[in-house]
């Protein structure tokens, strides 16, 4: 142990190369050595197989699946042949650039939201609303000479991103209202908000979406039924709002009571207190958990495949399900998993970074 600490200290002072420290740590005691050898054996066994499958023996492009048959490697040719189907779904082929631009707009919005200079309620709302509208009009068309494409033809990654942004844009205001309702001084409102939040949170997301898609038309008058996609998005937004409301409530409860008393003493009314004193601090307190909630929501958008939407998983299904690519299912799933991974991993890394940065001020 002391030898280890000494070596770490020497490394810190630039006296020992990193590799030496690494090796010393791997073989510090006899059971560390045993664990290292087992792990090393596992890595040596797995890594060549993985690299062989994914790179060395892989078929990168082919007009059909015949070169893949009997091969030991991955059949990435399915991606090169069908990537447009996976990303854009059944969107009209010559209009794919619109779908691509729309996806890019969402990515830009998400990246810009990570810039602290934009963390003002008005700026953030404008950014997200603007991004959402850009996406919507690019996809739907009907303006600026773009041809009209109905939501029933939206699909793939674009649909996934549409559901995600729509849920975020609709759900966030709902979450704030619900969280404030639950903290309200009026008992009936507090109780109703609590009942709604607790019931929805106790149910699986899938059942909420299923209710909206299949059962709600029974209980709505004809003029309110609308498109299935929008019903599902509203239900998803409600589910998101109920989870997010609890996160904001955590942020609200962490605000020092003196802040509110000071605001009251200054004669500020409820809305002024809430908008200028309470909410900014609540959001700051709950920022890491909020990012986490966005990450979870993005992953959960994949569930709409069960309700019958043609999002990225379903288009992946179609990509390997038709023609002669049926044996290339794993490659398609790995490709989609990589897309999700890229989004989710970078967002959650950013959340962790933020959490660390915010903690610095407190310790």
């Amino acid at each position: 142990m002391s030898a280890l600490a000494a070596s770490t200290a020497r490394y810190r002072h630039g006296m020992e190369p990193f590799a030496t420290v690494l090796v010393r740590r791997m073989f510090a005691t006899w059971h560390d050595a045993a664990i290292s050898i087992v792990c090393l054996a596992f890595v040596i066994w797995l890594l060549p197989k993985l690299i062989g499958w994914a790179f060395l023996d892989a078929v990168w492009s082919a007009p059909n699946a015949t070169p893949c048959i009997g091969g030991a490697g991955a059949c990435w040719a399915v991606i090169t042949a069908r990537w447009r189907l996976i990303i854009f779904g059944l969107y009209p082929f010559d209009q794919h650039w619109r779908s691509g631009l729309a996806c890019l707009a969402v990515v830009v919005v998400v990246v810009l939201s990570c810039v602290p200079a934009l963390w003002r309620p008005v700026r953030l709302s404008l950014l997200w609303l603007g991004g959402f509208l850009t996406f919507y009009f690019l996809m739907r068309g009907g303006v600026f000479g773009l041809s009209l494409v109905g939501t029933e033809r939206w699909g793939g990654m674009a649909l996934t991103l549409f559901i995600f942004t729509a849920v975020a844009v609709l759900g966030m205001p709902m979450a704030i209202i619900l969280a404030l309702g639950r903290q309200s001084e009026l008992p009936a409102i507090r109780w109703l908000a609590g009942l709604l939040i607790d019931t929805v949170r106790a149910l699986p997301l899938l059942t909420v979406l299923f209710t909206a898609a299949v059962i709600l038309p029974f209980a709505l008058p004809d003029w309110l039924i609308g498109d299935k996609l929008y019903r599902v998005i509203y239900a998803f937004a409600l589910f998101f709002a109920c989870a997010q409301a609890e996160i904001i409530r955590g942020g609200l409860q962490a605000i020092h009571a003196g802040q509110l008393e000071a605001a009251k003493a200054l004669g500020l009314g409820y809305w002024h207190r809430t908008w200028h004193i309470v909410l900014p601090q609540a959001f700051r307190n709950s920022l890491p958990a909020t990012i986490n909630q966005f990450v979870i929501t993005f992953k959960e958008t994949s569930i709409v495949i069960i309700i019958g939407f043609f999002e990225v998983l379903a288009s992946g299904h179609a990509a390997y399900g038709t023609g002669d690519w049926t044996s290339a299912y794993a490659e398609v799933y790995v490709f989609i998993a990589l897309i999700y991974f890229a989004f989710v991993f970078s967002l959650s890394r950013y959340g962790a970074h933020l959490e660390k940065r915010m903690r610095l001020g407190h310790d």
């Binding site: 664990i35 209980a219 998983l313 299912y329 799933y333």
Partner: protein, 392 residues
């Protein structure tokens, strides 16, 4: 007029006004829902009420823990769905917790290689949607060789595209149900006896109670299996290829395996993060003090670090358990008959939309309630008590 403005300026009056408005809007929405739904159902010739629970269903369920035929009534179908959800959820939770704890410990280990492997595992399985993982496992499982070309391990375990066949204790559905209910009773005894009968209120007394209850249940289970066995067949059945399929043994369907593996992989990645957070939350001074007292590293871990970490681990773990239990609903994507799949099939077949929705929601609310109550009780029982809190 003056009076009205004065009234409107009074905070109390406005409070009442807001509340009445919100409550009446909520009531209005609810009533319009119910009226429209009733109207539409009557138009379709469906009578509302729970009488349909006694009707026979006429459709089959691929995976049932309780014996089932297509002539059985609806209430039995819901019972099966509920049991299936609990079964796959509980098994998934247990293995995710065990596996996740191991990985969480690996992630705080000093050994850099072990550490790196743990990190890679967590990042892969946490950042890919659960349903994608489930679909991938299911696609792999259904593309395994057919029963005739089965992969066999020691001629007793067979891996095929029709499922996994393993040797198992021979028992009928009735015996299985009996054993399951004995264990549920034991669980109730552990949960209720301390409060109702005052048994096991102290920490050691509670441990004794848990031990006694579980051992008794296990003894009864063994006795039931031996007592109800078929004298000709023996105690254990081994799967054997007969024609195109296997007979004997236990068949684990690909739907179940895919859901179970997905839940364990995804869940263990999250559990690992919770365990890691808990282990890191333990004050270094406490560990150094334990070391200074001459405890061996393993003892420091087992007697100091883990007990202290548990207090930070249990609350988020409860949320994770509830989440995973609800996540079993994604099994419908590849046809695992959990409560949700049964619900949607039943709505399709019978049209009793509102009643069935009510049953399903009650089922999930009950599951939620039980898990959160149990985790709260656990949290209370491990909380630092009285004098122990001093000095931390």
């Amino acid at each position: 007029m003056m009076e009205l403005t004065a009234l409107l300026r009074s905070g109390r009056f406005r409070g009442w006004l807001y509340q009445t408005a919100v409550v009446s809007v909520a009531c209005l929405i609810l009533i319009s829902f119910v009226v429209t739904a009733r109207h539409n159902l009557v138009a379709q010739g469906i009578t509302t009420g729970f009488d349909f629970l006694q009707r026979s269903t006429g459709w089959d369920i691929p995976f049932a823990l309780i014996s089932y035929t297509i002539n059985d009534p609806y209430w039995r179908v819901f019972l099966i769905g509920f049991a299936n959800t609990i079964f796959v959820g509980t098994l998934g939770l247990i293995f995710a917790t065990l596996f996740g704890t191991f990985i969480g410990i690996a992630r705080v280990a000093r050994n850099p290689l072990l550490n790196a492997l743990g990190t890679v595992y967590v990042e892969i399985f946490r950042n890919v949607p659960l349903i994608l993982q489930g679909l991938l496992w299911y696609a792999i499982l259904t593309r395994l060789p057919s029963p005739r070309q089965a992969i066999s391990i020691w001629d007793s375990i067979f891996i095929t595209n029709r499922g996994l066949y393993i040797p198992f204790v021979a028992m009928s559905h009735g015996t299985f149900l009996f054993i399951a209910s004995v264990f549920v009773l034991a669980g109730f005894a552990i949960a209720l006896l301390p409060r109702l009968a005052g048994i096991g209120t102290s920490r050691s007394g509670f441990r004794r109670l848990v031990r006694t209850a579980l051992l008794t249940a296990a003894a009864i289970a063994v006795a039931a299996v031996i007592g109800a066995r078929d004298p000709q067949a023996g105690l254990i059945t081994i799967p054997m290829l007969k024609g195109l399929r296997f007979e004997g043994g236990l068949r684990v369907t690909p739907e179940f395996t895919a859901l179970f593996v997905a839940i364990v992989c995804f869940g263990s990645a999250y559990v690992a993060e919770i365990v890691r957070g808990g282990l890191l939350s333990v004050n270094r001074g406490q560990l150094e003090a334990a070391g200074a007292l001459g405890l061996r590293p393993f003892h420091v871990y087992w007697y100091v670090r883990i007990p202290l970490a548990l207090r930070a681990i249990v609350p988020p773990m409860g949320n994770q358990f509830v989440w995973l239990m609800k996540a079993t609903t994604i099994g419908i994507a590849f046809g695992f008959s959990d409560l949700f799949m049964i619900t949607s099939t039943a709505i399709n077949q019978s049209g009793q939309t509102i009643e069935i929705l009510f049953i399903m929601m009650s089922g999930f609310l009950l599951i939620n309630y039980v898990i959160s109550t149990a985790m709260n009780a656990l949290n209370r029982s491990i909380a630092l008590k009285g004098y122990e809190t001093k000095g931390t």
